[in-house]
């Protein structure tokens, strides 16, 4: 906010000392993406005023978060993600850090933090043993089907 004021005063012909002038010239190159203008629900008029002295660059697709991507752009957004090994490891790391900082690394962490992890572990193991657990149901159904087909 302060910088945009300063840059706008610069454009309007305000005065700075010679030593600081060149620093403020760099403000024009500072990326100002005006993230609120690109949110899914449209720009929030209450909080964001159009800033006169600042260049409004639309946010490139690569930097948008998932909730800010329009549905039509979704396939290209997915393809632009980093799928290299270090990218995948980074994604897991970020997910882990997000969960850790929200539920465990707090002053009064409760048992829910680790219980959720264990519940996911149970569901994970269930999905991978689903076939063996329900093998007897499936065997019964196929034999029923074959038995019926004999008499039709």
């Amino acid at each position: 906010m302060c910088k945009s004021l300063q840059s706008s005063t610069l454009i309007a012909g305000g005065s700075f000392s010679a030593a600081e002038e060149w620093v403020h010239l760099l403000d024009a190159y500072r990326p100002n993406h005006s993230l609120a203008l690109h949110s899914l629900l449209g720009p929030d008029v209450r909080t964001v005023q159009p800033q006169p002295g600042v260049l409004q660059i639309p946010l490139p697709l690569k930097d948008k978060k998932l909730l800010e991507v329009k549905l039509g752009e979704l396939p290209s957004w997915i393809l632009m993600r980093d799928f290299s090994p270090s990218g995948i490891v980074g994604a897991f790391r970020r997910g882990y850090d997000r969960y850790y900082n929200k539920y465990i690394n707090v002053k009064k962490g409760s048992i829910a933090g680790i219980t959720m992890v264990l519940a996911c572990y149970v569901v994970f193991n269930y999905t991978f043993s689903y076939k063996e657990l329900n093998a007897h149901h499936l065997a019964f159904l196929t034999s029923e089907h074959e038995r019926r087909r004999k008499y039709h």
Partner: protein, 226 residues
Amino acid sequence: MNQNLFTSFNIPVILGIPLAVLIIMFPTMLIIPPKNLINNRLSSIQQWLVKLTLKQMMTSHTPKGRTWSLMLLSLITFIALNNILGLTPYAFTPTTQLSMNLGMAIPLWAATVLMGLRFKTKSSLAHFLPQGTPIPLIPMLIIIETISLVIQPVALAVRLTANITAGHLLMHLLGDTALTLMSIYLSSSTITIIIIILLITLELGVALIQAYVFTLLVGLYLHDNS
């Protein structure tokens, strides 16, 4: 019925890739290295447990034996966590596989024996002959002591495997019984369910105790040979 009982011990495989690797690595996600002086609750509990275990295990060792602290501590944490996580429903317990337990037991035992033979050759060989044996018995006793030495890693591995597997099997059997009995005699089904609850508490104890015993014995072999 036979096929159903032991299928819970099959290594989970997805598209030909054994998932056991992921499941073995899962307990590492639950252990958090403490970053600050005062940490969050989970980290503080872990720190306290580690300190307790360390003190209990390593005070009786010589300084040379205490260089093994990290190894023994990670061993007991690994085994205890794997056993406890295996008590959750549908979970696969890696410590039920004899291959894994042998893989833990043989290198550790061999390391203690080799360490003893290298640094204190006379004293470690002297363990083969207890003090005060009558002279005619000496040849037989040396053979017996050698056999008991060689059987140590096998005993370590098989003890852990058998205990955990037996506990899991018992729980599966009783669970099936309770389920079948529910439609016949509801009262005996409730009694079976109470037995299962007691068994689960026992299993929790066994899980921890087995880890402790494993580590303790390795420490004992270390103490003898350091």
